[in-house]
């Protein structure tokens, strides 16, 4: 029983870190421009598709990872400039409609372009190591480490980078940031591109585990939204903790009930959070 529990804890942390990668992009975008990006799951999915294309043509998983990030970052920047920049300062509902519309367009584009049959990204590492009674794939550990590294890199960039300061200042006070000479419209574009690239990275990393299809974004985005709300909208650290917390709970719950039922746990956490601590679980209590 203990070994089962430990395996599930490892599983929970691994899927938590992938989820954290998607959720941090989402929360970063919300934090800085109050845009709830309903197309985030489709950026994740398109990232995975671009990844499959690059893997097929070059054979290199790592090239696919980098290439997908760059391509989707560019797509994200274009989306921001064309669809979201004109809506800045309007009712948040308009941006929800815009991004929801985009998600439908992107999903159906993928269906049209790549067809309904799921594709597979081969794992870059097929090795396994013994973990109690089972052989645990190295690749899962690699995903966790890479996700953590990307999130850590983002954190360092926000904390110490020149443009990191711009992003943090703009998140706190858009108007004053502009008055300090920070090019706010481009900071918004840049953040959207970074968020999109992070979604693409998780899409490629996740691809070998689930198979790539046009609807793969839906499940991920739902979980990412739960995480962002539980962690506190716009709160990066909160989202990361919430992602790991919820994934751990689900992993442990699936020992007791079927994995499909374990998903209920995240909704229970969501409802409890909204009832008792609507600003988020992992934010300091506002004074």
């Amino acid at each position: 029983m203990v070994d089962l529990l430990l395996v599930q804890i490892v599983n929970g942390i691994v899927s938590g870190l992938i989820l954290a990668l998607v959720a941090s992009g989402l929360t970063l975008i919300f934090g800085i421009m109050d845009v709830v990006n309903f197309a985030h799951g489709e950026l994740f999915m398109l990232g995975a598709y671009v990844g499959t294309t690059i893997v097929v043509t070059t054979g290199s998983f790592w090239l696919a990872l980098v290439g997908a990030c760059l391509a989707i970052a560019l797509l994200g920047a274009v989306i921001q400039v064309l669809a979201l920049r004109p809506l800045l300062g309007r009712d948040p509902l308009t941006t929800i409609l815009a991004t929801f519309g985009l998600s439908l367009v992107l999903q159906n584009y993928a269906l049209w372009q790549y067809g309904p049959v799921a594709r597979k990204i081969p794992e870059p590492f097929t090795g396994q190591f013994p973990l109690f009674h089972l052989q645990y794939p190295w690749y899962r550990i690699i995903i966790a480490v890479l996700s953590a590294a990307i999130i850590g890199g983002l954190w360092l960039f926000l904390k110490y980078g020149k443009y990191g300061i711009w992003i943090r200042a703009t998140t706190q006070d858009r108007v004053m940031a502009a008055a300090m000479g920070i090019p706010v419209p481009w900071v918004h574009t840049g953040v959207f591109a970074i968020g999109a690239a992070m979604a693409a990275a998780s899409g490629v990393l996740f691809g070998p585990l689930v198979g790539v299809n046009h609807a793969m974004g839906l499940d991920v985005i739902l979980r990412a939204f739960i995480v962002v709300v539980v962690g506190g909208m716009g709160n990066l650290g909160g989202s990361i903790l919430a992602a790991i917390f919820i994934s751990l709970l689900e992993a442990i719950a699936s020992l007791l009930v079927s994995p499909a039922q374990a998903v209920i746990v995240s909704f229970v956490v969501l409802i409890l959070t909204l009832l008792f601590r609507p600003t988020g679980l992992f934010v300091p209590t506002p004074k």
């Binding site: 020149k162 300061i165 711009w166 943090r168 200042a169 706190q172 006070d173 108007v175 004053m176 940031a177 502009a178 008055a179 300090m180 000479g181 920070i182 090019p183 706010v184 419209p185």
Partner: protein
């Protein structure tokens, strides 16, 4: 250096500025007096482009900046110290200053020199450099707001009610800072409710009423003749 010609501005449907015209010369300290809600703060925001002028022109150093985005106007050399200070509360004091320093074309030595200068003028900011902005007292936040604007090496600073809500000791300090800025040749456009202080530090005064400039006079003249002050400000 800075000229506003018949500037109008709206907040949604309400017409706030009804043709404001004013002028600030290089190194000059000019004040705008007026009761609450006559459009003094809006005038400053319109200069920077934070509020769009619906008619009229704002010209800074010979360039029409009426339609320019705020960040570009700021980089041309207009510092802004807003009424509510608007410190980046979650950034440290040092990071607050960096928001104005991290722009293209500022060499490391020049950054150091600028930082050194404001830390010399505001020793308390050096002491608190790694504290977050939100933990500073009101007076310290005001100093930080002014120091932050100085990071842009502005040719003019727009000061919106810098002494509002401050203790007398702090007010005296803000006064000193205005003198320092003047000595460095930075022009100031000051919006204040504190009439004695305003008349003391400024060279010229515009009096605003109902979204337009009603009166212009040298500060020295208003110090003598307070009929105007009485008429427009009710004191």
């Amino acid at each position: 250096m800075l000229t506003l010609t018949d500037v109008h501005a709206h907040y949604g449907k309400s017409h706030v500025l009804h043709g404001v015209s004013l002028h600030v010369g290089p190194g000059e300290v000019v004040a705008i007096l007026g009761r609450n809600g006559v459009g003094k703060s809006t005038t400053l925001k319109t200069i920077l482009g934070l509020v769009r002028a619906s008619a009229g022109r704002v010209v800074f150093e010979g360039r029409d900046v009426t339609a320019a985005p705020a960040h570009r106007v700021a980089r041309m050399g207009i510092g802004y110290v807003p009424e509510d200070r608007r410190i980046f509360r979650l950034l440290s004091v040092h990071e607050n200053l960096r928001t104005g320093l991290d722009r293209p074309g500022v060499a490391p030595e020049r950054r150091e020199r600028l930082l050194e200068k404001v830390y010399r003028h505001f020793p308390v900011l050096r002491e608190r450099r790694s504290q977050t902005g939100g933990t500073l007292s009101g007076g310290e936040q005001q100093m930080l707001a002014i120091a932050r604007a100085m990071m842009l090496e502005p040719k003019i600073i727009l000061l919106d009610e810098p002494t509002e809500g401050l203790m007398p000791r702090m007010v005296a300090q803000i006064r000193e800072i205005i003198d320092v800025l003047r000595a460095e040749g930075v022009a100031i456009l000051l919006v204040e409710q504190n009439v004695p202080l305003t008349l003391e530090v400024s060279e010229r005064v515009y009096v605003m009423e109902k979204g337009t400039v009603r009166h212009e006079a040298p500060a020295a003249a208003l110090r003598q003749d307070d009929a105007v002050i009485h008429q427009y400000l009710g004191i």
